[in-house]
């Protein structure tokens, strides 16, 4: 079929089920925008390309399929990079399509030319640059396949402007094969056999569920396993919400700002089953101390994660959903008589009770903890929550229980400030029927607040739950803790006024200074058909505890407050 490269791109995207793209036009992707006029794709115009990548990311994490963003060459493309790196760190399937200067101009330092293939290399699974229009459909199909399959991740397609314009005979392949790319999907039976042995012979087993459980949607398999063997479940922060946090076996996230009882129980275990987790420093503290003297079983789809940070006793490479399913099947054939009142489960209860009493809340009427408990009380369980980065994020981890699996996500790996708000808009586009809340702080929201225009104009209303301490709070906490209160570069000085900012964009801005006001504001936000920014005043001195200081182990946790 005769068509130009730009039309071939959009047709290839549509053939693979893409119906929405987030982007911003510029000189080098004008032909793509011209083709968009006649295409069935919904285009969401962003105000900054970084937000386009975050929206595509948020969309992808909820849809569990590729999220697409467009940008022009040079600065448009480099602005995407933070969002692409964020998606890479969290294994999210984002497809970035950038315009590039014409083929003949590449390498001439042309206007708005950047070697984006080179720039994107360390933070993408792959980057393509078609040299002819006829190559585009196959490359797009490969890009989506690579992005979504195996351990998902971002892929970039960089299309020179003349390639977008060239009219050629275009064919759309039904199937593509990439010979150097063969993700392991099936369950590894022999290793699962060894897993059964270790689990059956352990007295104090623990499941550590990571982001891989969410990526593969292995929620019911995980729950079946935990319930079958009565194993307490901790998660990594990325894995938060892989397991219902109100479940009788749930212990919450471990890590630097993990739940105290979770950090405590995992160092007392004799066998750890890590499912779709990568033993990140933020989750496990010191690699050499973590899991010392315990049997560690590691299930992951990415063979390179096995032994990267932690040597393990059993490695089960494959899709964790398939592995867990097989594991449960093998286990159900065994006679299992687990005592519901065994000493390990009693220890679990003991730890939860101990820490719920020993970690006291600040006495003020409105604290981050109280605000988040209120939010949980009002929000329906199927609502989607995401976060900004910093104290707000860690408070969300500590005080906001995710009940419905897979309804929570955050920039956990890269820790990108400004992620939450645009990502929440992407999530809203993926699932418009449920409320979406960005649990935010002032510093982080400030970075991408111009996405309010997108939320309002494109009818993607979300709630920004802005816990405002007028500070870059997490940095301030570190300066308080490690630098003797020598504050530098952390004061935001009540600027801007966030409720007025919201109103300036045509959104709803509400200030909340008491629990009653907050209650009303959340209910109002849930009813609103435009975005709502709830500006919640909290104490700048409120710290996040517990805290595992960098370079120490989980056992060295400071419970503080």
């Amino acid at each position: 079929m005769e068509m130009n490269g730009a039309r071939a791109l959009l047709a290839a995207l549509e053939k693979d089920g893409v119906d929405i793209v987030f982007g911003l036009p510029g000189g080098a992707n004008l032909p793509i925008y011209d083709a968009l006029v006649d295409s069935g794709l919904r285009h969401i115009l962003v105000r900054h390309e970084q937000s386009a990548a975050h929206m595509a990311d948020g969309f992808a994490r909820i849809k569990r399929k590729v999220g697409v963003c467009f940008a022009t060459s040079g600065p448009g493309a480099t602005n995407l990079i933070t969002g692409i790196a964020t998606a890479y760190a969290d294994s999210s399937p984002v497809l970035a399509v950038t315009g590039q200067v014409a083929l003949a101009m590449i390498g001439k330092d042309a206007f708005q030319e950047t070697d984006i293939i080179g720039v994107a290399n360390p933070c993408t699974k792959y980057a393509f640059q078609p040299r002819t229009a006829a190559e585009i459909p196959e490359m797009v199909k490969k890009a989506i396949y690579i992005s979504e399959s195996g351990r998902p991740g971002p892929v970039l397609v960089d299309i020179p402007k003349d390639v977008q314009q060239a009219t050629e005979d275009i064919h759309f392949p039904e199937l593509v094969k990439v010979r150097g790319y063969n993700p392991v999907l099936d369950a590894d039976f022999s290793q699962i056999g060894r897993t059964v042995e270790l689990l059956m012979n352990s007295e104090r087993p623990i499941i550590m569920a990571g982001g891989g459980v969410i990526l593969s949607g292995a929620f019911s398999e995980l729950q079946a396993l935990a319930e079958l063997l009565l194993i307490p479940v901790v998660t990594t922060f990325k894995g938060k919400g892989a397991f219902p946090e109100n479940h009788p076996l749930a212990m919450g996230p471990i890590g630097m700002h993990g739940h105290a009882e979770a950090n405590k129980i995992i160092v007392e275990a004799d066998c750890i089953l890590a499912v779709g987790a990568r033993f990140s420093d933020r989750s496990v503290g010191r690699f050499d101390e973590f899991g010392k003297g315990m049997n560690i079983i590691h299930m992951d789809i990415d063979p390179a994660e096995i032994g990267k940070n932690k040597l393990v006793d059993v490695a089960v490479v494959g899709d964790v959903k398939a592995s867990l399913k097989t594991l449960v099947k093998m286990l159900s054939k065994q006679v299992i008589a687990r005592d519901k009142d065994n000493s390990w489960l009693r220890r679990r209860k003991e730890l939860i009770d101990y820490y719920s009493e020993s970690i006291k809340d600040y006495t003020r009427d409105l604290t981050a903890k109280k605000a988040l408990k209120k939010l949980r009380e009002i929000l329906p369980s199927e609502a989607i929550t995401t976060t900004e980065v910093g104290q707000c994020q860690m408070w969300a981890s500590l005080h906001f229980d995710v009940i419905s699996p897979g309804t929570f996500f955050s920039s956990t790996g890269l820790g990108t400030m400004g992620f939450g708000f645009p990502a929440s808009i992407g999530a809203k586009a993926a699932r418009p029927t449920v409320p979406v809340v960005d649990i935010a702080g002032d510093g982080s929201f400030n970075m991408t607040e111009n996405s309010l225009a997108v939320s309002v104009l494109d009818n993607l209303p979300v709630i920004v739950f802005l816990m405002n301490n007028y500070m870059l709070g997490m940095v301030a906490q570190w300066q308080r803790t490690f630098y003797n209160r020598r504050y530098m570069g952390v004061h935001q000085n009540s600027c801007p006024d966030y409720s007025k900012i919201a109103e300036a964009y045509g959104a709803q801005g509400i200030k909340a200074q008491s629990i009653e006001e907050l209650d009303k504001a959340i209910r109002s936000g849930l009813k609103s058909d435009v975005a709502t920014v709830i500006d919640i005043t909290i104490d700048p001195e409120e710290d996040v505890y517990p805290f595992v200081a960098p370079g120490t182990g989980l056992k060295d946790m400071i419970t503080g407050a």
Binding site: I117, G118, N121, P122, K125, Y126, I146, V178, R179, G180, Y181, D302, P303, A304, I306, G307, K308, L311
Partner: protein, 172 residues
């Protein structure tokens, strides 16, 4: 001199691994691979790339002095790259591996010239060029053999040296 001795004894403790891989023969592949080494802090002794019997695949031979765990990670990270089709760690006992070096050294006095030519013949090296003040020798062999020859001639004064890095294929 002490530094060199220490270095040599260190070298003997850390084994040399030879990795052989087939990679897509297209632009940007070498960049992706070398960028991986840098980004993940892998130390590479040598890397060679060249064509194979298959026009669309290149063979890349990588040598590294490292421990087993690091090499295991290196292999897994390489396999993760889309352009890398195959990676194997070669068993040195069952592998033919060779490197080529060109060494240009100072040689003015005739007795010294003769000495160098004698050494070259013992090492089965070829003299490729003789000028008024220097000799250029080509030597092929394992990196150890080339090191030995280099150490032998260092005191004459090496003016320039170019080593290709290791190429390898399994025996049989």
């Amino acid at each position: 001199m002490t530094a060199i001795t220490e270095n040599e004894s260190h070298d003997r403790l850390v084994p040399l691994y030879i990795l052989s891989s087939l990679v897509e023969n297209k632009p940007g592949v070498l960049f992706r691979i070398t960028n991986l080494f840098r980004a993940r802090n892998f130390n590479i002794e040598s890397i060679t790339v060249g064509s194979t019997e298959m026009p669309d695949l290149s063979r890349m031979t990588i040598t590294t002095k490292s421990d087993e765990r690091t090499v295991d990670q290196l292999v897994k990270q390489l396999r993760k790259l889309i352009d890398v089709v195959e990676v194997t760690v070669l068993d040195k006992e069952r592998t033919v591996y060779r490197e080529l070096a060109l060494i240009k050294m100072k040689a003015i006095d005739p007795p010294i010239r003769m000495e160098i030519i004698n050494y070259a013949s013992i090492f089965r090296a070829n003299v490729l060029d003789i000028a008024k003040e220097n000799i250029l020798v080509e030597i092929t062999g394992t990196p150890d053999k080339i090191d030995a020859f280099k150490n032998l001639v260092t005191h004459y004064g090496i003016i320039q040296m170019a080593r290709t890095g290791v190429s390898a294929l399994p025996r049989g």
